[in-house]
């Protein structure tokens, strides 16, 4: 670990520290680059992560001069539609915070209401505490956090869980970072009924929906990772597919793209199988053709006007 030893003698007031060197030593650039490379779009999110990284880096330098400041609160709230990369970013967050020496282990513990809230009186507190203990030294990611609070049932145990979380978020700031995630409007309502929670969360990050171009870039990235690629016609077909799919209900951004690609792979395999007898080359095995995409149900509904809506 590159942790600063607190017993060190403070630097003299006129000493100079090299922020560049410190930056390089933390290897943070590597993580940020990886983030840029592997996550398409998400401008506001990346900016915020950069800001947090800068804050922690400066904090480290300040500590060299013994300029004590309270440990910054890094609890975060990620809002955004499904498939906009909230979980992916949360995993990266653990890694970034570890490199900056803010958390010790940097692992991610993902939970939902079921993992925190018990079934009967006295069941909730041990459950929540168990989860918190597991997350210590890393990041606790609470997906769909608004389900913790059920206003229609005043005897709901969720409130108890929230109270324990609040206490830990305040007292164990050095030990874990809590990230809440959920849809924007529902999180808004959640915070309205739990003002204590809102005030303990320093960073509210909104994940924007992807544009069609970004979605296409994501699709290409996903295919490359699985050693596939679009033919030119295939790419055009997929762009068209995205246009139609985005207008349909239950569109969940990158997740829909992934599902569409999985189905395209299925059709490609089928096509290759049906054309048996022909010798296949490597190029055949990695190419997703236009017909693999065009066979999708989305086209029939979108173009033919046979939409169910």
């Amino acid at each position: 670990m590159t942790d600063i030893d607190n017993s060190e003698v403070p630097l003299a007031d006129d000493a100079r520290v090299d922020i560049e060197a410190e930056f390089r030593a933390s290897n943070i650039q590597e993580v940020l680059d990886k983030l840029d490379r592997e996550l398409i779009g998400l401008k506001p999110v990346k900016t915020r992560i950069r800001e947090v990284a800068a804050l922690l880096l400066v904090d480290r330098l300040r500590r060299k001069f013994k300029l004590g400041a309270e440990t910054p609160t890094l609890h975060m709230c990620f809002t955004g539609n499904p498939g906009t990369g909230k979980t992916t970013v949360a995993t990266r967050m653990g890694e970034i915070l570890k490199r900056l020496g803010y958390v010790r282990e940097g692992h991610l513990v993902t939970v939902t209401r079921d993992d925190l809230v018990g079934q009967y009186i006295g069941h909730t507190a041990p459950r929540t505490k168990e989860v918190i203990k597991k997350a210590m030294g890393g990041v606790l990611f609470i997906d769909e956090a608004y389900y913790l609070y059920k206003p229609e049932n005043e005897r709901d145990y969720g409130q108890e869980s929230i109270e324990i979380l609040l206490q830990v978020m305040e007292n164990n700031r050095d030990d874990l970072v809590v990230i809440l995630a959920g849809y924007k409007d529902k999180m808004e309502r959640f915070f309205q009924s739990n003002p204590g929670m809102r005030s303990r969360i320093a960073h509210h990050v909104d994940f924007p929906d992807y544009s069609p171009d970004e979605l296409l870039a994501i699709a290409k990235l996903m295919l490359t990772r699985q050693n596939y690629r679009f033919t030119e016609a295939g790419e055009r077909a997929f762009a068209e597919y995205l246009q139609l799919r985005m207008r349909q209900p239950h569109f969940s951004n990158a997740r829909s793209v992934r599902n569409a690609l999985d189905r395209a792979r299925l059709r490609q395999a089928n096509r290759l199988f049906a054309g048996a007898g022909k010798k296949l080359g490597k190029i055949d095995l990695i190419s997703i053709e236009a017909e693999d995409v065009l066979a999708s149900r989305v086209f029939a509904e979108g173009r033919g006007g046979m939409s169910h809506e």
């Binding site: 203990k133 597991k134 210590m136 030294g137 890393g138 164990n172």
Partner: protein
């Protein structure tokens, strides 16, 4: 022997050393977690060396990555039972071991009365010896008031 000067009971690891600080306890737990051992907090007020089954404080803690959570439990236990013996054990579930691999005391009563030697006259001229903890003359819960 189970007693030494000052009547401090010596069971488990580090018991001849001065009390471990929280930082030292954290370091020990870190070692246990590194080896994938499950760490438990246990307490008792019967210091007899044959008393091997101590009460467990809370649930056993599996799948932890960081000692902070365990230290939190230790401090909770100290707050609840300030005058009890509290020990931390690390259980190794690997096939073939399936046993505690570490055990050390993290809390003890201020005043430990120690042990007396008890002689029992048995058949013939036999004498049987055993140790008796003075603390256990009083009922459970009132032993170290």
């Amino acid at each position: 022997m189970m007693t030494n000067h000052g009547n401090r009971i010596t069971q488990g690891q580090f018991s001849f050393l001065p009390e471990l600080t929280d930082a030292q306890i954290t370091a020990q737990i870190k070692y246990a977690l590194k080896n994938n051992w499950a760490v438990n907090v246990e307490y008792t007020d019967d210091p007899h060396p044959r008393n091997t089954y101590w009460e467990m404080f809370g649930m056993p803690m599996f799948d932890l990555r960081d000692p902070a959570g365990i230290l939190m439990e230790i401090n909770n236990c100290r707050k609840t039972f300030p005058d009890h013996y509290i020990r931390v054990t690390a259980f190794d579930s690997t096939r073939g071991w399936e046993t505690p691999r570490m055990s050390f005391i993290v809390n003890r009563p201020d005043n430990e009365p120690g042990f007396g030697l008890v002689r029992q006259e048995a058949d013939g001229r036999h004498v049987r010896y055993t140790v008796h903890s003075y603390a256990t003359d009083k009922p459970e819960g009132e032993r170290y008031m």
